[in-house]
Symmetry: C2
Subunit: 122 residues, 2 copies
């Protein structure tokens, strides 16, 4: 037991906490699509078809399921607009989704630099 | 066509660029495990078994595949230490992995706050 304590780097606990918190993030917004759907709605309300066009490669079935999940977890609101006697369904972000701004900017900035790095190495 | 241009919100192009860059990030370090493996190595070299213990829930087979992938893409180095007549294989991060620090900190910080929000709502 003593041996274990002596071998324990003081920083390890910190990184374990970071790992747990990042795990909590990935549990909520990880996966292939959730963050992309949220980003596609950052600029305002979108209808299902516009959303599908914005999130390249997503199938209607998967988009539908992801939207239900995002709604259930408080990231997206479904708006039914019945003006002009036609029901138009659109999706918009909750205020909570905007707490993801820093995460999105960090990922966007890194992705941009990463692409440059890849291009240079070719 | 004119109709399309008039409807075009000036911010949309910006968000599409963000979406593409985040997509590039997710392509490189997205998925269930890659970022968690990288974080587990932030504090220094680890052997396979220690890494498996640190990344809760990962199977040896998946860890092995993910490590190969991370090595191939320049995030992780495999070190073979042959001191004491025993070959010890360990994994360590490349300098490039440390460019992910801001991404990791943003995800960690959000995850921490998210957990608090969830706890309060229960």
């Amino acid at each position: 037991m003593n041996d274990k304590i002596e071998n324990c780097n003081p920083g390890e606990e910190y990184y374990q906490a970071v790992l747990r918190s990042v795990g909590d993030s990935l549990y909520a917004i990880g996966g292939k699509w959730k963050l992309k759907i949220i980003i596609s709605l950052f600029n305002g309300t979108k209808r299902f078809n516009d959303l599908q066009r914005a999130v390249t490669g997503i199938s209607p079935r998967v988009l539908s399921n992801e939207l239900k999940d995002l709604e259930l977890n408080g990231f997206v609101k479904r708006k039914v607009n019945t003006e002009d006697f036609v029901a138009v369904i659109a999706y918009e972000l909750t205020d909570y989704s905007f707490t993801l701004e820093e995460v999105v900017l960090a990922l966007s900035s890194w992705g941009e630099k990463h692409l440059e790095t890849i291009k240079k190495s070719l």
